[in-house]
């Protein structure tokens, strides 16, 4: 049939949540050939319908005929690849996004798949380690530890059994890049893991995926089945988490993988030496491992090294989320300013109101004020500003946001998700919620015990909001330096940044002004 039109619609979970399956079925019913591809990452346009490179989105069932007839101008965005949101990006990890069918071995091989692995096998372990180190790739999970150094440690560790563990427990709000890799290009991640295996001498891999990502789990399993012979002798298996946010922390993840409570382990020993089941283990984030196949292509490492600024090399898949007009996945070299990301690329808030705050790095990242929009996307620059890049998620809030409530939520979240092993996190988070409540209530009067005549040294005046703020600052200090892992250690970032930038949201406008005047 000459007019069997080829329609491309994403089968990404986000597109499916917005009705992509029904759209695809409607086109099939019309006699079209429908390819379910990965998502381009322009999420405000999902579900996006693509015919001969031209895109229509967000499309509904009512638009089906119009689009087929080449009409539907009001939702037509023209050639997708030329859209400014796509054209401005530098996509290495997401080079296939929107272009291939996720679990098609044919599509993967036709777009340069497995060349990294094949070359890696030819050049051998030492050369792989040298190239990964040269590329300057740093762990994309949040800590930013140089991947090459970690791999070298595992490679040099003695022992017949080693593991590659992929941390796909992407629990941070505002992050979805891991999900998009697993759902959109699962072979890429598997190839990265197989290369890691060849580099350090590990023949078994585990992908620890959170249970909130059923689509990713299904596609990874399908992909692993299909490429089993290609990656052999390396073997890989998906393990499903069970709803614990803290299992995104590497040692907690390892405990969970072993079938234990997901409690954080004290370091040392480093997982590189005593990781999964006590054996030397590479634990890397999805984005780290997915960056590897490109780096291992001919000349890939030096290209990667040339991108970015300072010690932050290569590209970062940045996730634009929350109250943002053009939300989605934006992969670019390090160094881009926050203002450019939020205003130019993201188009400001979705509600059309002014931007009040931007949280970078998920629930444990600082709230940045629009005054700080010139900060470049760079690990060290963010650390200097008492903030973190984390996994590259950006949540935008408009001026209706109550930052006092968000600070309280940060503590509440920490209390709900704490593994309970260390005291600053387990107890500190609960006390943090209580203190923020008291600050917002304007302090407290002396309680019954303080008023008792025997309590000679107890203060008689209760505690003012200012006293409570001092207490909160002290508590945050303790959590930051006394917690075992980033959950307790970084929860102070959102709390203190909110308090510093928007004190009026804690104590009311009048009180904040008096305090500033003093």
């Amino acid at each position: 049939m000459a007019d069997k039109r080829l329609i491309r619609i994403s089968d990404d979970a986000l597109a499916r949540a917005l009705g992509a399956d029904k759209l695809a079925a409607a086109y099939e019913k019309k006699g079209c050939e429908v390819h379910r591809t990965s998502s381009w990452g322009m999420q405000w346009l999902e579900p996006l319908v693509e015919i001969d490179g031209i895109g229509w989105g967000p499309a509904t069932l009512e638009d089906v005929d119009d689009i087929l007839a080449g009409n539907g101008d009001e939702i037509c965005i023209g050639p997708i690849a030329a859209h400014p949101f796509i054209a401005r990006q530098q996509r290495l990890t997401f080079a296939r996004a929107g272009k291939t069918r996720p679990t098609s071995m044919e599509d993967y091989a036709a777009t340069g798949g497995w060349t990294g692995l094949n070359r890696a096998r030819q050049i051998g372990s030492e050369a792989i380690l040298a190239e990964v180190t040269q590329s300057g790739l740093r762990g994309r999970g949040g800590a930013g530890f140089p991947a090459g150094i970690k791999w070298q440690t595992v490679a040099r560790a003695a022992g017949p059994q080693k593991y590659i563990v992929c941390n796909a427990d992407e629990g941070d709000s505002a992050t979805f890049a891991d999900r998009m890799v697993m759902e959109g290009d699962p072979f890429l991640l598997i190839e990265g893991m197989a290369i890691a295996g060849a580099a350090v001498g590990a023949d078994q891999g585990y992908i620890y995926v959170r249970s909130e990502y059923p689509d990713a789990i299904r596609k990874l399993n399908e992909a692993l089945q299909k490429c089993r012979d290609t990656i052999a002798p390396f073997r890989c298996e998906v393990r499903v988490g069970a709803g614990a946010y803290v299992c995104g922390e590497e040692t907690s993840l390892l405990n969970s993988l072993e079938g234990k409570r997901g409690e954080v382990r004290a370091k040392p020993p480093l997982p590189a030496l005593e990781g999964a089941f006590g054996k030397p283990t590479v634990v890397n984030n999805v984005l780290t491992l997915a960056a590897i196949p490109h780096i291992l292509t001919e000349g890939g490492a030096s290209l990667y090294e040339k991108l970015g600024i300072e010690r932050s090399k290569g590209t970062m898949p940045i996730q634009l989320a929350g109250n943002i007009k053009h939300g989605g996945l934006f992969e670019t070299a390090f160094g881009i300013s926050l203002g450019e990301l939020v205003n130019d690329i993201g188009g400001g808030t979705d509600s059309g109101r002014p931007v009040k705050a931007v949280q970078v790095g998920g629930p444990l990242g600082a709230y940045l004020h629009p005054d700080q929009f010139d900060i470049p996307f760079d690990y060290e620059a963010y650390t200097k500003a008492d903030a973190l890049i984390g996994h590259g998620g950006i949540t935008v809030f408009d001026d209706t946001a109550d930052m006092g409530a968000m600070a309280r939520f940060a503590m509440e979240f920490c209390a709900a998700e704490s593994c309970g092993k260390c005291t600053p996190c387990r107890i500190g988070s609960v006390r943090g919620v209580e203190i923020i409540d008291r600050i917002r209530a304007g302090g407290r009067t002396p309680d019954e015990i303080e008023r008792a005549p025997q309590m000679h040294n107890a203060p008689r005046h209760g505690r003012s909001a200012g006293d409570e703020i001092g207490l909160l600052t002290d508590l945050c200090e303790t959590m930051k330096f006394g917690s075992l892992c980033a959950l307790g250690g970084f929860t102070p970032y959102p709390v203190m940044s909110a308090l510093k930038n928007w004190p009026e949201d804690f104590t009311g406008k009048a009180a904040a002004e008096t305090e500033a005047a003093e």
Partner: protein, 142 residues
């Protein structure tokens, strides 16, 4: 021998030889019976040669495993930062009204659709770009 112990025995046998089999087993048991109750914990402990306390410690740690089956339909609503920024808190009242006692609303932190919230999940089906009425409809259909 009860059918429960038989079924759990099968599940354990299925995962025999895997490294760290406890979580996969617990997932299967939760899926099969809608919960991991004390009886199941005992059977799993015996099967894996662990103490019941060990198994209970793991079961009680993770949000996905429950001690009792949930009879009502469950709607998960994301109330993490990105969905808060998009106004999920303002529609929770409507959600609670729609749910009443018939549907259990379960707060989750992040379904990974952070630019198109508020989001909800029923079983393995995701719903995005929800406003008050749309969320109420999801809950009514649950």
């Amino acid at each position: 021998m009860s059918s429960k112990s038989e079924k759990i025995g099968e599940i354990i046998a299925e995962h025999h030889g895997r490294e760290g089999p406890l979580l996969p087993i617990l997932h299967d048991v939760q899926e099969e019976f809608g919960c991991v109750d004390a009886e199941s914990e005992g059977l799993i402990a015996k099967g894996l040669n662990l103490s019941r306390a060990d198994v209970h410690g793991v079961v009680s740690f993770y949000h996905d495993f429950t001690a009792e089956p949930e009879q009502r339909p469950v709607v998960q609503i994301c109330r993490a930062e990105a969905c808060k920024a998009r106004g999920v808190e303002a529609i929770m009242e409507q959600a609670r009204a729609a749910a009443g006692d018939r549907v259990k609303l379960h707060t989750v932190y992040c379904l990974g659709l952070c630019s198109v919230g508020p989001n909800a999940r029923v079983g393995d089906t995701l719903h995005a770009r929800l406003d008050g009425p749309a969320l109420a409809k999801v809950i009514e259909n649950a």
